[in-house]
Amino acid sequence: MQRFLMGQPLMRKFLGRVADVLTEYLGGLSEDLVKDNFVTIYQLLDEMMDNGFPLTTEPSVLKEMILPANLVSRVLSVVTGSSATLSSTLPSATSSSVPWRASGIKHSKNEIYFDLVEEMDATINKDGFLARCEVYGEVLATSRLSGMPDVSVSFTNPSILNDVSFHPCVRSQSWDSNQKLSFVPPDGSFKLMSYRVKSLKNTPIYVRPQFSSDGGVVTVTVMVGIRANVGKPVDNITLQLMLPPSVASSDLTANHGSVLPNHSTRVTTWSIGRIPKDKAPCLNGKLQLESGLERLREYPTFLVGFKVMGVALSGLRSDRVDINRVEYSAIKGFRAVTRAGNYEIRS
């Protein structure tokens, strides 16, 4: 009972982590993969939990105890004939003060890359007002650095961040005092930080749907265009609408891109791609209502998808990455991408 009450978030989070680790080890998670790799999975579960209590879940530490049963190690075991699914030494990190990083890591090429990945959530209500707009962002890092490097990252405009959370490696003191990220990175890929930026006033594209009913037939016009120039082209624009149950059939065409109705899910997808310079993309057509209905009473919600490479729409930018406490110079990279998250337009 004690355990039961220990925290519902903990249980859920732990299960999620187990799934993440297995996915990383097996390169996916499916019934067949589990069946094929049950020995590895038993070993992993053994280290991840004891007597119902979570133990080690840090992938980098686990990998030192149990080698992934991937192709490389299989090839290795065939070539050398030795057992390669398990290292015979106990990882030093389990008892070190930096549990996420093993000592003595060596890379021939030292590099660290940061990916700013943002998702824009927005709701535009049926009067065309922006009811809600927020950006959820993550800084994903891939570190291949030798030794015990101390990395610091600073941003030009950290004040826009509404809420932040960090990987355990980040020293929160440094963030509190000068808004800099200072950390000893784990080796490999990890999520350095995630953040939320709220009350943004601008969305990159607009969608203007219009419906007019007449005698059981609804005429639809949907216009899509760029609302504000974000500095980079907006790609992969898609528009999804789910037809209300009262619609019997639909006939929708567009002057640009492709329209793909799915009759079983009732979702029509309009793939626009990039907005052309010479014309405004427009979706036209008619909806035939179920017999007996005069006009449309439930209006569909449009879900918008897009991608902007090279720009974080929140405006967050990094101006400096330093790597200290090591002799070598490393390659540093920073890039950004923004995608539509839950970007919906009601009509």
Binding site: M1, M6, L86, S88, D163, S194, N342
Partner: protein, 742 residues
């Protein structure tokens, strides 16, 4: 695979293992590993391979770690079922406990502790003791958990060997954080279990665990712990009571950055500590709310729907405690198209809770958009939410606009919900009757089909007969269709409405009243029949008496109270960061088996004593504290409610029964002779009714037939005494429900 071939295969495996056991050929490990894999995979899919036990153990003398692990797994699985075989493994496990490799030492110790065979416990003590003193942290980690496993097999041997004391020492001094975490975990569980064995020592030990030195040593190294161990530590810290406010502030300073942890479990555990530390400092407590808001709101909209729901439940709890603090964050609770229904429902509740003067317009605008939602359940909920918000504020024009907007949608369920909403509004703000009635007037009674909505409409027709010129005629239509009306609830409502109209506009409604009462008396439904009879008898006493009972002057409802008592809410708050919050129930309600039975009863209490028909009419929001009772109803009306309630449980009120028995034969008889007897007595009684009988157009036979009907029912009491006692105990609750039918 059929049984024979499986047997053959097992025998085959057995032979192969036996052959390999002593072999020292190169490559033999690889063959062994394949065989082990096969055995384990059989074990996994549920085939009994315990017959290979001795062969497996024989082959386990190996330096190959994977082989060892598979062997440990196999042994751990079958040891409990085959204690005699398990003895075979003790030897090699003990040997492995002294291996040079700490990993093997740890794994062997873990397997040894996981055998869970009672009579092998003696072999466990030694390795466990040396494990706790091992130089390697990994082994100590395993040993700490091993102590707990030992405790579960043999509690007395565990405590006799002073293992808890050793764990306590490690808890304070071990350099490895994971060892400390496991000690903490083991100790907590041991002390919790010890409470049943020796309450006093256990209480003392628990106190020691929650003492300042222990808590401080844990807090000071909190960053060394893994995220899971941090949750454990934070959970324990939340039970610690600091001696003064300075101490609280120090602790909060240390834990401040936990709120920025990437793991939501850590964040929630830290929030719990903050809330509990400041519970007695009102202003700081409020600041804590402000501080924890941002991380919680982030968690709500990022991640899976399950996470959203869990975090929202926690936020919901906080919002209910301090709605004002969240009044600027309402946009976070806007529903997203892709949210599952259960998330949307919770969000609607939050929007209702945070609505105040400053944000009502936006929130109601947003809610009104959901009314057009494809998801009917959400559309309904959102209209109810608009209603709840409307009940809190005073701008009649804005609300009437919305109502008209809803009705314009011309959808059955929207109209239905809107009618119920208008009814609630009128009960709170009778002064709005003029505006609201104008809205209702535009509804065609033909389009209203749902019982709840029909009842609401009928109630309004009865209540506001003066404002609606055609009210009697609409009601007349309903009464003509009495037979087709399936819902007893609507029929009940009709009776009351017709009676009320009769008081106000007698010339237009007297015929209708007669028709309704006679139909009601002939009704097969117990409640309907009884209410008709009650009204009939009241009218016999005189119109004024009846009016005093049926249509007394009402006071407006001031507050529609919550369904949950504040005590329960406080208990849930104490169990922040647990399933209690998600279930919206304190843990004893779903954990304690003894409690669970009765609790389920109380959960149903709203419905049980009433019968489903009446309860259906009542929205959750309408459940009102018993203290509100006097606001709406005069004492006499309450009596009527009691009668209705009692009837719902097939129990006729004593008054009625007394009346019956004086004029009717014993209940058990239903012979034709008794019918005639009843007829004659009723006829005799009818003469004393003066002209009332004629007025109502009642036939004496009609009066008596339903009476007989009810008599028959009483021969078979549908309730045993105990069950009745229980329901009776819940009548207070039921009473508050019934009030709103009128």
């Amino acid at each position: 695979m059929n049984a024979d071939s499986r047997k053959g295969e097992l025998a085959d495996l057995k032979a192969q293992l036996r052959q390999l056991a002593g072999s020292r050929q190169p490559g033999v490990e690889d063959i062994k590993r394949e065989l082990y894999k096969k055995v384990i995979s059989y074990m996994t899919i549920g085939i009994d391979v315990s017959s290979l036990f001795s062969e497996m153990v024989m082959c386990s003398a190996t330096s190959d770690l994977v082989l060892k692990k598979m062997c440990y797994l196999y042994v751990g699985n079958y040891a409990r079922g085959h204690p005699d075989l398990a003895l075979l493994t003790i030897n090699f496990l003990q040997k492995d406990c002294h291996d040079d490799d700490p990993m093997i030492r740890g794994l062997a110790l873990r397997s040894l502790c996981s055998l869970r065979v009672k009579n092998l416990v003696e072999y466990l003590i030694g390795p466990l003791r040396s494990g706790l003193k091992d130089a390697n942290g990994y082994v100590r980690t395993v040993a700490a958990m091993g102590v707990l496993k030992l405790y579960h097999i043999a509690p007395s041997q565990c405590t006799d060997n002073e293992f808890p004391a050793m764990l306590r020492a490690l808890l304070l001094n071990d350099p490895d954080a994971q060892v400390v975490a496991n000690c903490l975990c083991a100790l907590q569980e041991i002390y919790t279990a010890e409470v049943n064995v020796s309450p006093e020592t256990a209480a003392r030990d628990r106190e020691h665990l929650l003492s300042k030195p222990v808590i401080y040593s844990l807090l000071n190294r909190i960053k060394d712990f893994t995220e899971w161990a941090q949750c454990l530590v934070l959970d324990m810290v939340s039970k610690y009571v600091p001696s003064d406010s300075d101490e609280s502030f120090d602790m909060m300073n240390i834990l401040e950055d936990r709120l920025q942890h990437t793991n939501s479990a850590v964040v929630l555990a830290a929030i719990k500590v903050f809330l509990h530390l400041t519970i007695s400092m009102a202003d700081i407590h409020q600041q804590v709310y402000e501080r924890i808001k941002a991380p919680l709101l982030t968690l709500v909209n990022s991640g899976s729907a399950e996470q959203t729901y869990a975090v929202l439940s926690h936020l919901h709890l906080l919002v209910l405690r301090a709605p004002v603090l969240f009044s600027n964050d309402y946009k976070h609770f806007y529903c997203r198209y892709s949210d599952p229904t259960y998330v949307k429902k919770l969000k609607l509740e939050m929007l209702t809770a945070v609505a105040n003067e400053t944000n009502t317009y936006e929130i109601v605008t947003e809610l009104s958009e959901y009314a057009a939602n494809v998801d009917v359940a959400i559309a309904r909920e959102s209209i109810r939410a608009v209603g709840k918000i409307a009940l809190q504020q005073y701008d009649v024009n804005a609300i009437v606009d919305r109502l008209l907007q809803f009705l314009e949608m011309e959808k059955d369920y929207v109209t239905a919900e809107t009618l119920v909403l208008v009814k609630d509004l009128l009960r709170k703000y009778p002064q709005w009757s003029h505006d609201c009635i104008a809205v209702v007037g535009s509804v065609s009674s033909k389009t209203v089909t749902e019982p709840k909505a029909k009842s609401a409409l009928v109630w309004m027709l009865g209540e506001y007969a003066y404002d609606m010129p055609d009210a009697p005629y609409i009601l007349e239509g309903f009464i003509e269709n009495w037979i087709e009306e399936d819902s007893a609830q609507v029929r009940l409502e009709l009776l009351t409405a017709v009676t009320k109209i009769f008081f106000k506009r007698p010339p237009e409604s007297i015929k209708m009243l007669g028709a309704a009462l006679s139909a009601g008396l002939a009704d097969a439904h117990q409640d309907v029949h009884d209410r008709a009879l009650l009204y009939y008898r009241l009218l016999q006493q005189g119109v004024e008496v009846a009016e005093r009972v049926v249509n007394p002057a009402k006071q407006a409802v001031s507050v529609f109270a919550d369904t949950q008592s504040s005590e329960i809410k406080d208990r849930i708050f104490d169990e922040f960061n647990s399933l209690s919050v998600v279930y919206q129930q304190p843990s004893y309600m779903f954990l304690d088996k003894e409690v669970r039975g009765p609790i389920e009863l109380t959960e149903d209490s709203g419905i049980l004593p009433l019968g489903p028909t009446i309860a259906d009419d009542v929205l959750p929001s309408q459940l009102v504290d018993a203290t509100d009772n006097d606001l709406l109803l005069s004492a006499s009306d309450k009596e009527e409610s009691v009668a209705a309630v009692s009837n719902g449980s097939h129990y006729s009120g004593p008054d009625l029964a007394g009346f019956e028995s004086s004029s009717a034969p014993p209940r058990s008889t239903s012979s034709p002779s008794s019918t005639s007897q009843v007829t004659s007595t009723s006829a005799a009684a009818a003469t004393s009714l003066l002209d009332f009988e004629d007025l109502l157009g009642l036939n004496t036979y009609e009066v008596s037939t339903p009476a007989l009907f009810s008599l028959k029912l009483k021969t078979k009491p549908s309730l045993v005494a105990q069950a009745f006692q229980r329901k009776w105990g819940q009548l207070a609750v039921a009473l508050t429900l019934v009030r709103f039918v009128y």
